[in-house]
Amino acid sequence: MTLPIKPKAYKSEIKPVWCPGCGHFSVLSALTKALAYLQIPKHKIGFISGIGCSSRIPAYVNSYGFHGIHGRGLAMASGLKAARPDLHVIVAGGDGDGFSIGGNHFIHACRRNMDMLYIVMDNQVYGMTKGQASPTTDPDWVNKLTPHGSQLRPFEPLGIALASGASFIARGFSGDPSAMSKLLVEAMEHPGFSFVQVLSPCKTFRPEQVQWKQQVHTAFAESTDDPILAAQRIHGDDGMGTGIVYQNQLPVWSLPHDTHEDTDIDAIEAEFLL
């Protein structure tokens, strides 16, 4: 298939700040491939992020981007989508940005189920601050800030997303960019809030994640619209299973756009007259 807009056209001239071997490079490639597959006009994309290694991604994509503040990407994206429903809104970030500082927005973005794609590049570490435990880090992972490990059960992104009302929940792996690209296409085609957790290794601070290549397995070949089955899938999985866990048609929130043509500001002002 020849595409009028090639994947390369979606890549900007800016060189990523990521370390060599970082999983995020593959996410960038998978995303640009997915955008090219769908032939989404670059100027119709609103690409929003917070802070962290992965949150740098909007600048590397030819689109309208906003690199905002830590944890607030989803909030900004919700405002953009509400005001501009014609745009394709994509949000990206890391596990700290999305599940720790931005955890409340994650829950409420799932609840609102606005039509947007949310990619979390999960490497179970704070990379930009050079290696601290994130909400998805194992409890016994030792680092300078928590020398005994966090001693906390890892956050379950898919389970929280399901409980909070997201209508498309999937997991991908940056080491398998073609599968991930397909996943992103399906996520973008889904009407509603599409959450994709991407296991994206951090070579610098979690070199052991190089093992993920062997551990990742296709777990959800078929999606389900049954939340109970989806919950069983999430709890029965080792956190390394990929595929669409859950997909359902749920009410999508948007501003009620029923403009009353006969109402103008003068009519509103007249309410104040004695």
Binding site: P58, H67, I69, G79, A83, R84, N104, L255, F272, L274
Partner: protein, 572 residues
Amino acid sequence: MSISSFSIAITGAGGSGAVTTGLILLESMAHYGFYGLLNRSSGPQIRGGESAVFIRFDDQEVLSVNNHFDYLLALDWFNIERFIDEIPLGQSSVVIYDSNAGAIPEVLQKSQAQFMPIDFKTLVKTIHKGRANMIGLGLLANTISLPFASIETSLNKILGRKGAEVINTSAQAIRLGMTTQQEAVSWPVRSLATHIEANKARWSITGNEACGLGALKAGVRFVAAYPITPATEILEWLSPRLEKLGGGLLQAEDELASINMIIGASFGGVASLTATSGPGLSLMLEGIGLAIASETPVVVVNVSRGGPSTGIPTKSEQSDLNIALYGCHGDAPHLVLAPLNIADAVNTTFWATGLAEQLQTVAIVLCDQFIGQSRAIIDQVVVPQWETSRVTEKKEHPQNDYQRYKITENAVSPMSIPGTPNCLFTADGLEHNSKGTPSSMSQDHIEQLKKRQDKLLKFDYGTQWAKISGSGTMVLITWGSSSAMVQEAAHTLKQDIKVIALRLLMPLPVEALVKELRNSKKVFVIEQNQGQQLFHYLHSYQSLPVDAHSFARSGPLPLRPAEIVAFIKEQL
């Protein structure tokens, strides 16, 4: 203020109808031809607690509170001690109270007011489903010579949704109250002369509604917000009206979300606003810094209440000036404006929105509970033809050479709106170069910092930076809701006094202010906060003479003109 100005307080336990009585009285007087200002106060209960309304009437626009109340209608004595500080009474004051409500509380006995007991209990029994508050309204109406015909219209408007039976019963009770007083007791009756020009359009409006209207008129079509006292009414008023105009309101999960949501919407090209109060403003500061750095226009209306922390949510104070000016980290120049009164809230919010859009920055509108939750009868507000449009980039740049943060003559760079082909950019809170690419180079930082400051300093704000009245070598400088009281104090002093009520607080128009102070001999800075926030701010720009006086007192009681007068006299 004219000699026909007078004030009435109505207090009562939850469910006694004190507030409804006040609202009916205000609008009835308006129909009769008067202007009025109604402030309200309530106890800490969410619902059903005691409440009080304070109304001042005049035959011209009334913006300031009076020094004392002429009448107090106490429907009962329930928790009256909570309000008594807010109801100064004088020798000529009349307290109308229920003779069945027990002894006159000690706090009131100390006043020199005349006490007029009314046997509400017996009177109420004569009317099926009658209510004491409506009888009280009738008593007041007769006392101030307010004809029943004027009450009827507002009664229908305010109680309309309760049905015909309630209206009829209320009307009966009001009539009973109007005749009772003549038989029972006699006290000073006012004969009102009305002076409203025929056919002059007047409004009944609250400050929160006025802020909302100003924003709508200036083009705001998206609001994201989290409810907070005393700003919620702005949001509740805006929500259905935004929809009527093709926009809408998004209820955010918290204030961190609301500020970022409006930044997102504004990035999408839609003029956007949020409204909050102190605690919410504290949460929004990081987002405000982002909007400043990324040059995304947004409006933040802050309806101040007593602070710090949760403070006094239901009462007013002008103590959020410092956070509005200095709350952000880094060098973060932006706009801070303050409406002077309810009518001015329409214009100032309009102006703030227009400035934010034109200058691509944050405008904080510092309103407060006193303006926000008060209702006034005012002349219809006509907004001047101020510019409100954002400079956008419509030209395509197929060579990918669009510079979002280009250094221009006026330091404002045309903004490309998503949907415009070949004009892509990524906005960033990271320091960036003129293209928007993140940069930590000192040259880019210095250049962009200068740009963001220059655009504010090079702009011509015109003459509306302050409302300046009078002339003389004594100058009273004030801002926001205290302006009305300062104005009245100046009037009372009967000297040549200049009053400068600042609307534009940031950037401070230093040159214009210094020019206005050139021939001054005595300068007073008057504000309602403990920390002399405006006084210190003005001094920091060396805009005040070294011997300027500060009169700063915390809320929640409004500054009363008489205490301002007393302070000034002490210094002379």
